[in-house]
């Protein structure tokens, strides 16, 4: 072992995952932060530059201009000075409530969610009770109960915090319950970490974006509620806030006297501050759920499709993919499928093997034009050669033609499709739905008969038609999905890892079913998987894909016996033989002799 003196590499200092927690820059975030910064600065520094807000002058209700940029109130106080002090007061209460409510919700939500059991039951019962108590009336009652002279901003803040934390606690609890079952929490427990440390170091950082969003929400809630309370005359007695300003404007009949400069500025500050916080919250939500992000799209270049749809060379061919390229148009475009050409013959099982990220699923989506932006077909053609002699240029189909084409000529079974069945609708309704959409003229009895027929084809008892998906086992659900793909008698089926999530015995049963159906019905299958041994046993021909390209293509027997590409050999070597010689799989503890990259 090399001696690693401390001088060679210094230990890191205070590095944490903050960077990944920061929101991505976007116009929304910029505007939001800008609004907040301007208002916060105004509240913070404004009072230093404006005069005394309570000085009474003999200038009641002067319109804006001259010495008083925002005019004066009924008693001649300067509105700008009042606005500056009130903004400071409102921000003060907003921050106090934000901190208090977030602490309370974190305590009840996170601790309860993590500890579980009786503590969780008690905590969530308590937060549920707090949640159903109508907030504002309680605030009014509590505020009215405290004598007006003792009602400082702290009292109001505590009252608002107590009535405002429960909803956040529920959200945090739900998220904690999900984080608690993560493997890294289990791993920390196995490492021997104490529960409080697991919460603070493993769980809490991953809740930060959520906590931030809940904090921002509490601040908005507090400023609005405080304004409401003050407007009703129940606010803090010792400080002026935007709400008290509105209260005095209301009492001074500002509206009736058309003194808009008295009530519009505080209203506007509240609205703009709330707006700024909400915009920031959008950006925080994008960290929690990256799916909300706007995908920056590059201007859509018209795909250059040099190759015309392939002409039928041979009656035997059902699908021709010619020099197909798919690019993910992101900041640095990713060429996921590069010039891939494939032909699929009638009644053939073509296996497409490759590891994660090689582009095999992208290819499957593109052939059926199910790809979504940012993925884009940048070249090549997909031609379907119909049984009745017509050639269909799939990439040129108009939307309604494409809809008719999918499922009836070419159907797809996706990875995990069995979990895509709607859990609250019976198998029969889901199967019939396909027929109602694609075969509108079909009679009810004929539909029913067809559904029973396809279920029988895949080896599921037709009596199961009335079942809900959750009443069926995983293997049975996958059979139902295959039955669904068979409903319209397609000539091509694309199967993307159809058995990966299933146990070997169930997988074996389904594979046999696919082979039997292929023999009986004669459809062609494009079978996509990472499991090369499975393809070697199942497929007629095999294409091996790596980094978006097909590196080897040939009959299964040939790929198995004489693989030509080093990558194919490497893949083959990666699967130990169950019954054969040990080969490279001697448990020597040394890296395997052929190829150190493994």
């Amino acid at each position: 072992m090399t001696d690693l003196g401390p001088a060679t590499v210094a230990p890191p200092r205070g590095r944490a995952g903050w960077r990944s927690m920061l929101p991505r820059w976007s116009p929304k975030l910029g505007v939001g932060l800008g609004l907040i910064a301007v208002i916060a600065l105004f509240g913070l520094l404004g009072p230093l530059f404006v005069g005394d807000p309570v000085t009474i002058r003999d200038l009641g209700l002067t319109p804006p201009g001259g010495e008083h940029p925002l005019g004066t109130t009924l008693t001649g106080q300067d509105v700008l000075a009042q606005l500056a002090h009130s903004t400071r007061g409102s921000l003060h209460i907003g921050l106090l409530v934000g901190v208090l409510a977030t602490l309370l919700s974190a305590l009840f939500g996170i601790v309860g969610g993590y500890v579980g059991g009786v503590v969780d039951e008690a905590f969530s019962l308590f937060s549920n009770v707090m949640l159903v108590i109508p907030g504002l009336p309680l605030v009014i009652v509590v505020s009215a109960f405290v004598p007006a002279d003792q009602r400082g901003s702290w009292t109001v803040a505590v009252v608002l915090a107590i009535t405002g934390w429960a909803a956040s606690a529920r959200v945090l609890r739900a998220q904690t319950l999900s984080l608690r079952t993560r493997d890294y929490v289990a791993a920390a427990r196995v490492a021997g970490e104490k529960p409080w440390r697991v919460i603070a170091v493993e769980v809490l950082p991953n809740l930060l974006p959520l906590l931030a969003s809940q904090f921002v929400f509490s601040v908005v809630y507090a400023i609005l509620s405080e304004a409401g309370l003050s407007f009703l005359g129940l606010g803090a007695s010792n400080s002026s806030t935007l709400g008290t300003m509105l209260y005095y404007a209301q009492n001074g009949f500002a509206l009736q006297r058309e003194a808009w400069w008295w009530f519009v500025p505080p209203g506007l500050v509240i609205a703009l501050f709330g707006c700024g916080l909400a915009l920031v919250n959008f950006s925080i939500d994008e960290i929690i759920n990256p799916g909300l992000r706007d995908i920056p799209r590059r201007p859509r270049a018209e795909a250059v499709r040099e190759p015309a749809p392939a002409a039928r060379t041979d009656d035997d061919v059902v699908l021709t993919v010619d020099r197909l390229s798919v690019v993910y148009q992101v900041d640095t475009p990713v060429h996921a499928v590069k010039d891939v050409s494939l032909t699929l013959r009638r009644g053939e099982i073509l296996g497409l093997a490759g590891e994660s990220g090689c582009g095999k699923t992208t290819l499957a989506y593109a052939v059926d034009r199910l790809h979504r932006p940012p993925a884009e077909i940048t070249g090549g053609s997909v031609t379907f050669h119909d049984r009745d002699g017509e050639d269909v240029d799939v990439l040129a189909l108009r939307p309604e033609e494409l809809r008719a084409f999918r499922w009836s000529k070419l159907s797809v079974v996706f990875q995990g499709a069995m979990n895509a069945l709607n859990p609250v609708i019976t198998v029969r309704a889901q199967l019939e739905d396909v027929l109602i959409t694609h075969r509108p003229g079909m009679s009810r009895a004929a539909r029913r008969a067809r559904c029973e027929e396809v279920l029988r084809l895949v080896g599921v008892d037709p009596r199961r038609l009335g079942s809900f998906p959750h009443e069926l086992s995983g293997g049975m659900r996958q059979r139902v999905v295959i039955a669904m793909a068979l409903l319209l008698d397609p000539q091509v089926m694309i199967m993307d890892e159809p058995t990966t999530a299933l146990d070997v015995v169930v997988q074996r049963g389904i594979l046999r079913e696919i082979m039997r159906l292929r023999d009986e019905i004669g459809f062609a299958v494009l079978f996509i998987t990472h499991d090369l041994p499975l393809l070697l046993e199942l497929a007629d021909r095999i294409a091996v894909m790596k980094d978006g390209e097909i590196v080897e293509h040939g009959p299964a027997e040939q790929v198995h016996r004489e693989p030509r590409h080093p990558y194919t050999r490497r893949l083959l070597d990666s699967f130990p033989s169950l019954t054969g010689e040990r080969g490279a799989f001697v448990r020597s503890g040394e890296p395997a002799p052929s190829g150190g990259a493994r």
Partner: protein, 293 residues
Amino acid sequence: MTTLEARRLVKDFPVRVGLRRVKLRAVDDVSFTLVPGRTVALVGESGSGKSTIARMIARLEKPSGGDIALTAPDGSRVPDRHYRDHVQMVFQDPFASLNPFHTVEHHLARPLKLHGRAAGREETWRQVLRLLERVSLPARDVVHRRPHELSGGQRQRVAIARALAPGAKVVVADEPVSMLDVSIRLGVLNLLARLQREEGLAVLYITHDLATARHFSDDVLVLYKGRVVERGPADDVILNPRHPYTKLLAAAAPNPDARGRALDVDPAEVERAGAAAAYDHTTGRWEDVRTAG
């Protein structure tokens, strides 16, 4: 050398069926011994109870019956509070078992400190780099990275280093390669084997893959419905299976050398045989599994 003996382990989970609460027996009377330098493979399909056994050994679940005894090298029983110094676990999914918020350094430094293997920053730092080198990672390159900046294989190596950090002598590997790309699986398994040889680790290898169980373990236990239905030396169990369930598993695994073959085991036969008796290849006898507790 540390030895772990699991005796007649039972685990019941309460389940609600309508309004009634019933007990579901996930693990039923399972016994085995993990000794230094040897690997025991637990083979079975999902729901067979193999992961529950792993979690009981790692003390993430409490057994409903039976016990787990850990014997220190000097022959004395290891007290509970030192259990985790000796027994550690490698989880199935390296994408889930490393905290996305923390760096690789954090993942290794914490167990080192917790188990008193390193004191002070410099010492901890040296140990972290040493651990990364033990699992054949470019230590200085990866130590500051966060999990999402590593490939699946690299993450699993970090997870293995974390399991070794407390100085564990018993390692539970729960499907350590099933989430990895096929071309890097062998490398990770060989790494485990090398560490096992160098440190005399006792390994419990949990898998659904008969082929790697055969090549990377000494003994195989086949689990069916929470019970052991066949046990013995790896080659004996896999090449000469006796229980219909083991035969079915072996027949169902993809085998490129046998294109177009039929499945010669009828799943109904497995149902009939059930899990009432277990075949032990070392004694060469069928043994009745009595229900414990």
